[in-house]
């Protein structure tokens, strides 16, 4: 996004200069409370509220980011008077520039970033995705804490007539060095809010950290174990109605007529609305809405072409055969290097479409007032997307999005569909709040899917067994193209989709001759962001290939990878070496017992994992253990990192073992947990996580645990059985768990 396109939009620098991109200003709401920066609110009773502008969907972001503020503000995060919530209003400064500009805030400078930050800020683009919350907030929220502390300290100095060195910071207050004159933040906040915020503040040096880096327990656990936590689906408002949506099960079908006579006659049913390709049933109880939706007689007009998995896969293969490329990156001379290689490998890897299956089905609650202003309670990864969806339905400017806890997101909640249907229902019943909940079947059939892929690869090894060439073409669908077409009105250019080849194009191994290409095949299947996005396919491809090459040259898989990592990849090497050590690696097994490894960098972190498993004669697998090592830079909270690596791994293992969405006669075949299985406690391995001690800037942790799971699993299967599984899920090769 450069200055040119901004000029084209007629937005001048004069206006942009007024967009607040620092958030350090203070604000009083009468005597009731004071905001000291956009992240801290203090009330006279000394309740300190920390605003975290990222949705809490399991990743622990409300805890991890609050730690940053607590560190600088001297707060005990577990104290009763410290609260952490999503902010109640959208602000320019909550824009996730890191995600949209793919850059760390610490590295943003120059006119391009000046423009881009303000332009995006003017649209208030908060968003949770790409494992960016900590990366985006690391400096910003520590600075917020420091600015608030500075202002409170100034207020205390004025009140007591002392110099700063006479004051001692304690939890949510100051006292004099002799212990006298305690002043709470609540006593000081009003005065502090009328002071000028400092331009520059000193942040604590890492050596002085007392909260960052500590195993701080999550702030949301107490509410989540007592049933008090309110997810989107738990929002309850006075006289609220309950609704559901039903769309033709044939994707792309249009509705020609609906007979709702029976549905309307059922108990509690208030309304049936047809909106484009959806029928919305409104009732006084969710189950009654579900029942009535079952009773609808929907006549639909199927699209010209019915989706079918075999055809989709054939389409990908045709793309490979025709080399109809949309992206290509070449270095060296891969063709010549492969032709002259001592040994050549030709392989094809295939991955399926996948659903998100967030534990909390899609839902949204909307109150559309008679005057066109709207309040919406949304478990969303993008408040901006929710707001735009509602505004495009005719709401006025006053649309307030309350971001609730989300029962999982994994990319699914970056969409606007679930907001749209709820808003349509609420618009028809202005003045009455309506909560619209999708059935699990609807959630799965009308998901946006992780794209399938086929990679066709030729690799060359020289006499010494070194990898000299990789020629890889990946046929898949562009996530970006599908996402933007579905969610953003008007043209939205993005150049080429950098997620398609992420992790493949930039594979860390030294290979002098390489061609990495993509054919992104257009499809009617809705394609979406799925935990770790392109990496979820590409780590499987790269790390399976490395394992095959190691085996072909008779080398140990650790040693083979280490030999192909140059000095630029010292961190990758350290992860591998630590992993070899922690896993107690002594070869990769055999005779039904297997150990396999994978290494992959994504979202500014590096993860290595070894899977230990046993395979019985009937191809039944017991996953015994996973040993994982992560280098995610500075560890803000080891408990959260461990949990995310374990969770990410189980997510990846679930997909690798069972995950597959099929299309037949235009419909999604799998529609609940019987046909779309999940790893459960009885089969889930023990996952041991080791963290690399690092002083680098923090990386993401929500997604990097996922990509390594599948390749470590198939590499381990190979070690155990000698069978190389090149197609996921492993169930297609007859393995069960």
């Amino acid at each position: 996004m450069g200055g040119l396109s901004l000029a084209g939009l007629g937005i001048g620098t004069g206006y942009l200069a007024t967009v607040d991109v620092t958030g350090t200003g203070a604000r009083r709401e009468g005597d009731a409370s004071a905001d000291l920066t956009a992240w801290v609110n203090i009330t006279p009773d000394n309740t300190v509220t920390i605003y975290v502008p990222f949705v809490e969907m399991g990743q622990g972001t409300h805890t991890g980011l609050a730690q940053l503020v607590c560190e600088e503000l001297g707060l005990d995060i577990s104290a009763d008077n410290v609260r952490v919530t999503h902010p109640h209003e959208e602000m320019a400064v909550y824009t996730n520039w890191t995600m949209f500009l793919d850059e760390r805030p610490e590295h943003m400078s120059g006119p391009m970033h000046w423009y881009a930050k303000r332009f995006m800020g003017s649209m208030k683009l908060s968003a949770t995705g790409g494992s960016t919350a900590m990366v985006a907030s690391w400096s910003q929220m520590r600075r917020a804490g420091a600015v608030a502390r500075h202002m409170l300290q100034q207020a205390a100095m004025q009140k007591l007539g002392v110099r700063s060195d006479a004051l001692v910071l304690q939890h949510a207050g100051f006292r004099l060095a002799d212990g006298s004159a305690p002043l709470s933040f609540g006593d000081l906040a009003q005065a502090a809010a009328s002071l000028e915020p400092p331009q520059d503040v000193d942040l604590k040096p890492p050596g002085a950290f007392q909260v960052i880096g500590k195993p701080v327990r999550r702030i949301d656990t107490a509410d989540k174990i007592t049933g008090k936590a309110r997810f989107g689906i738990d929002v309850r408002l006075q006289d609220g109605l309950f609704a559901t949506v039903r769309r033709p099960s044939v994707l792309g079908a249009t509705i020609s007529s609906v007979d709702d006579t029976k549905a309307r006659s059922m108990r509690g049913v208030r309304d049936v609305i047809v909106h484009q390709d959806a029928v919305i049933v409104i009732a006084d109880n969710t189950w009654r809405a579900f029942q009535a939706a079952d009773a609808l007689d929907i006549d639909d007009e199927p699209p010209g072409e019915l989706l079918d998995t075999a055809q989709m896969i054939a389409g990908l293969r045709a793309g490979l055969d025709g080399q109809d490329l949309s992206q290509q990156y070449v270095s060296g001379d891969p063709k010549a290097a492969i032709a002259s290689a001592a040994r050549r490998l030709d392989v094809e890897y295939q991955t399926p479409y996948l659903a998100h299956a967030t534990m909390e089905p899609m839902n949204c609650t909307v109150l559309w007032r008679q005057n066109g202003s709207v309040e919406a309670w949304v478990p969303t990864q993008s408040a901006a997307m929710a707001r735009q969806a509602i505004q495009s339905l005719g709401a006025n400017e006053d649309v307030r999005i309350k971001v609730t806890y989300a029962g999982g997101g994994f990319g699914r909640r970056a969409e606007k569909d679930f907001v749209t249907y709820a808003a349509v229902a609420a618009r028809a019943h202005a003045g009455t709040p309506v909560q619209l909940v999708w059935s699990r079947e609807e959630d799965m059939r009308h998901d946006v899917f992780r794209p399938a892929s086929i990679a066709r690869i030729a690799a060359g090894l020289d006499k010494s067994g070194a990898l000299t060439a990789v020629d890889a073409t990946l046929a898949t669908h562009s996530v970006m193209a599908s996402y933007l077409a579905r969610n953003v009105d008007g043209p939205a250019g993005f150049g080429s989709d950098r997620t398609t080849l992420e992790g493949l194009r930039d594979m860390p191994y030294d290979v002098n001759n390489r061609r990495i290409a993509a054919c992104e095949i257009e499809t009617a299947i809705p394609i979406g962001f799925w935990r770790s996005v392109g990496h979820s396919n590409n780590a499987f491809i790269v790390e399976s290939l490395m394992d095959e090459c190691a085996a072909a040259s008779g080398r140990d898989p650790f040693e083979f990878r280490l030999a192909h990592l140059g000095d630029r990849h010292a961190r990758h090497k350290a992860v591998l070496e630590t992993l070899r050590d922690k896993a107690g690696w002594r070869g990769n097994g055999g005779d039904g017992y297997g150990r396999g490894l994978a290494l992959h960098a994504s979202f500014r972190s590096i993860v290595g994992a070894v899977v230990d498993l046993r395979v019985g004669d009937d191809k039944r697998i017991v996953l015994e253990k996973v040993t994982a090592v992560i280098d995610c830079g500075w560890v803000v909270n080891p408990l959260l990192v461990e949990a995310q690596v374990q969770g990410g791994m189980n997510f990846g293992l679930t997909a690798a073992c069972f995950g597959q969405i099929d299309f037949a006669e235009g419909r999604v075949v799998q529609d609940n947990f019987d046909s779309y299985e999940m790893l459960r406690l009885d089969a889930a391995p023990d996952i041991e996580v080791h963290l690399i001690d690092s002083a680098d800037l923090p990386g993401g942790v929500g997604e990097p645990g996922t990509p390594v799971a599948a390749p470590a699993l198939v590499n381990s299967l190979f070690a155990a059985t000698g069978e190389r599984v090149r197609r996921l899920p492993i169930a297609t090769a007859g393995y069960s768990i």
């Binding site: 809490e56 969907m57 399991g58 990743q59 622990g60 327990r217 999550r218 949301d220 656990t221 107490a222 509410d223 989540k224 174990i225 007592t226 049933g227 008090k228 936590a229 309110r230 997810f231 689906i233 738990d234 309850r236 309950f242 108990r267 006084d284 109880n285 969710t286 189950w287 579900f290 967030t358 534990m359 909390e360 089905p361 806890y405 989300a406 029962g407 999982g408 909940v437 059935s439 699990r440 408990l639 949990a643 995310q644 374990q646 969770g647 990410g648 189980n650 997510f651 679930t654 609940n672 947990f673 019987d674 999940m678 790893l679 459960r680 406690l681 009885d682 889930a684 023990d686 996952i687």
Partner: protein, 153 residues
Amino acid sequence: MYTLKINGIERTFDVEADMPLLWLLRDEADLTGSKFGCGIGLCGACSVIVDGALVRSCIISVSSVAGSDVRTVEDIARDGRLSAVQQAWLEMDVPQCGYCQSGVIMAVTALLETTPRPTASDVEEAISNICRCGTYDRIRAAIDRAAQILAAS
């Protein structure tokens, strides 16, 4: 009209005989701690304890539990004190998104009531809930811890 004792309080509801208990709890009784995950008894998010036995409330009708004693996650803490299972959950930092955890806590509560010192295979058999966030390691650790707390009390 159906009368049930929910978390110790007798309440009467005018609902259909075949309304699943889950939707009576969530939409009629305003107890949203029990969650909707699948609606067909496969995920365990809706688990509650009826007359001492663990049930998946999405597939049990109101008429079949009339007159019964229903306990939900809202009533596991007593007099402001967390149960042993909840204490263990807090100590082990189990929940991620937390959506499945009400159901898991109910399942573990029921398990420990009959089997206070469960073996690993007891646990594997009894806890078949889906946790999409993959918190299984900590669930296992927290079950051990809860058993310890119970044994000590």
